[in-house]
């Protein structure tokens, strides 16, 4: 990597620029998100042909609710990955957030909105902690978030002594089970979060600076970007969104049950981001792709269920999708440019 500084990048100046008259097709081929969006469409068509129940309103609503979980986690996770970090705590933290919300609400008797607010604040503080550790003590993100993951899981169990918290305010259930028109509220939340994330990343200077930090942290620092604040912000976003997901899960179940496993959710979130074109090196990836990545994984999971495929094979399928996505991305980057490392 550290080629001698004498070596200039003497590639032809025009190498990666699409020629003026390039076709739409070529442009699409050079866009990283094309593949995953196409795959979404394809998966939907194939499953719909195989299982007519797949595109029924009821099933679409189920998928919408699932998406709120995986999709929102994936978006939060992507913020961190964009800076070149990783957040393994999201699933554990989501589990803890659900229990915390229930505990605030039932045991402490706080009104539901206050309980939700407190829970989100706790989660945001956890993100702040991650960012501080990563920035000040240079703790690898992998390690510090793994610590949180473990502690959060244990805390969720010890707060409740293993018994679910019941009798929570209706608001929780309403959040997860109500509809606006035919659309379940969680699906709407996913859309709102995605749009907000898109706006922050694409339309604010802070967002553009996050990309710069992820692309080349040293260059960003020397250019006067407050790299540490930007990195911390991404951990706060990730943790807060994990908290939101935890609250939605509790609402869906009606109880705050620490034994309901959110195991492996963080890996699904990371997979969705990677499938959607986010580079684990940082600095690359867009919300469109991330959302599409989450949608694709949900389409496939649900589709296999609709086809009565054993759950064991679902995991295999997820792995294969991830593998294919990575391969396809490398092929695109190698043969169509786009400058991916």
């Amino acid at each position: 990597m550290s080629s001698p500084t004498l070596t200039p990048a003497d590639a032809a100046d025009t190498a990666a620029a699409p020629s003026a008259g390039s076709s739409l097709l070529r442009k699409l081929a050079a866009t990283p998100e094309t593949g995953v969006v196409l795959a979404c469409v394809l998966a939907f068509i194939v499953f719909s042909l195989e299982a007519p129940t797949y595109y029924s309103a009821v099933n679409l609503q189920v998928m919408g609710r699932d998406l709120a979980q995986f999709g929102v986690l994936a978006i939060g996770e992507s913020f961190v990955i964009l800076t070149g970090g990783i957040d393994l705590s999201v699933a554990g933290l989501a589990g803890l957030a659900g229990v915390l919300a229930g505990w605030f609400n039932v045991n402490e008797g706080l009104p539901a909105p206050v309980a939700i607010l407190f829970t989100l604040l706790v989660c945001a503080a956890v993100g702040l902690w991650h960012g501080t550790m990563v920035n000040k003590l240079n703790v690898p993100p992998f390690v510090i978030t793994l610590v949180t993951f473990t502690v959060a899981k244990g805390l969720a169990l010890s707060i409740t002594s293993g018994t679910p918290i019941t009798g929570m305010s209706n608001l929780f259930g309403d959040l997860s089970l109500y509809y606006v028109g035919p659309v379940p509220i969680p699906a709407l939340i996913f859309v709102v979060v995605a749009v907000l994330a898109w706006f922050v990343l694409e339309r604010t200077y802070v967002g553009r600076q996050i990309y710069a930090v992820g692309g080349n942290a040293e260059a960003a620092r020397l250019a006067g970007i407050p790299t540490k604040r930007r990195i911390t912000a991404t951990y706060v976003v990730s943790s807060t969104l994990a908290g939101l997901v935890g609250i939605l899960i509790v609402g869906r179940l009606g109880v705050a049950d620490p034994s309901v496993s959110t195991n492996g959710y963080e890996l699904v979130a990371i997979a969705a981001a990677v499938v959607g074109g986010v580079s684990l090196f940082g600095g690359e990836g867009r919300i469109l792709g991330i959302a599409a990545g989450a949608i694709l994984l949900e389409f496939i999971n649900n589709g296999l269920l609709a086809l009565n495929v054993s759950p064991y094979y679902q995991t295999v399928a997820q792995g294969i999708v991830l593998g294919v996505a990575i391969l396809a991305d490398r092929i695109r980057a190698t043969y169509f440019g786009g400058g991916r490392r």
């Binding site: 200039p8 990048a9 003497d10 590639a11 006067g224």
Partner: protein, 526 residues
Amino acid sequence: MTVEPTLEKSATALDRAVIARLRGVHKTYGPVRVLDLPELDLYAGQVVGVVGENGAGKSTLMGTLAGSVRRDGGEIEIDGHALVPGSTAESGRLGVALVSQEFPLVGQLSVAENLSLGQRPADSRRRVLVDRGAQRRAAEAMLTAIGLDPATISVRRVVRELPVPARQLIEIAKGWGRDPKLLILDEPTSSLGPIEARLVLDLARRAASDGRAVLFIGHRLDEVREIADRVLVLRNGRLVADLTPEEATEDRLIREMVGDEVAHSEPKTAPTGAAPLMEISGLTADGLGPVDLTVRKGEILGIAGLMGSGRSRLIHTIAGAQPATGGSMTMSGKPYAPKNAEQGVNAGIAMIPEDRKLQSLVLFAPIRANVTVSVLRRISRRGVLGPRRIRREAVAITDNVKVRMQSVDQSVGSLSGGNQQRAIFGRAFAAEPRLLLLDEPTRGVDVGSKAQIYELIDRAAESGTAVVAASSELEELLWICHRIAVMHRGRVAAVIERADATKENIMTAAATGVAQARSETNGNPT
């Protein structure tokens, strides 16, 4: 260009065995031919000193022999065996050992483990497991062999806990322990105190009297003159002089190193009556200072000095990218004490660091994202900004510095080195800095682009921006600067007005830390 220098061979050389035979060896990085040696023989039993300015090709020559640099062409024979290009293993097998300045030691391992890295101790009694006893004995023997008392450096110590001089000595022991036919020492004394340096110099002599060939890359001319049987001078990748110790006087070496071509520039005179922008007094930082310096508005102040003299550190400390440990700075009379680069930028400083790829650009990202990094905040409205705004700004920035490209949407990595550098200048200009800091502003760009970059630097100064430019190329500094501060071991050894500056007096100050008489009066500009 390719005038063959007349080489005077020392008489004794001819009847000795040739250890290394180089024929037509050359190496090019991008547009720059960094090494071009039609013919060079190294003989057994000789210490050959190699001197030259930064970038003269010394490191490339060593790397080519040691296999860490793949030569573009030409033949090398080591003791009669042809050397495959670009293989350190092959070079090692044929008997070339390079003691590098970079200490490729594994910090987490012990001295003993480092010394036997990749080999099994000769008297190891175990087949699979590590025989730590044998490893330690072997390591102690290797340290003793170079004249070190193993009691001073315990072979059980972990390498990263050792001070730099100790690591240098271990590195030397490692090279020595391979029983090389050709021992290459790359500025081996630069990190050593006088006692250890003496040890290393004696070692080089001993290696020669054992019948080995020694290539001694030196930065202290007195050392080279003392131990070398023959002194080679490299300039711009070519061998320009092959001298006997008697011929190799300090004056002669400096003259050969810098060349006698007259600087082809009109000496610039500093803008008259320009007010000082930045006053630096007693500034210290890790490996720097104390430094006192004044930078005036509209002036181009050059920073010269050898590798490791603190040029980059000074630039980074002024920018706030490296913390200052003492002293003070003022900008336009106001105290300026940046805690980080962000505060430097906010105070109106723009820095263009040395390494484009590592320190300036996100290579895979589009030009538009790269050039607008410095102005994102300013061009946003309450933090919000659209893609059209970014594009418009990017087009304006790149037009301003005439970046040759298809569109601002292509990746910045697809531009040539010169165009990348211009884009970075554009980005710096866009921030409208009061002080522009440059570190090796034309590294890795071709000759044509250099001239264009010099124009950009002039333009910045003419608009009233103060420019501080650190460079290892003396021609460059003579070409662009109004004044030149010469650094030596972290301090400013001399400040020379352009009218008084010559390659010789800059080089002398850089090498010895002592300014020549006529420039001394300028050492403290008031």
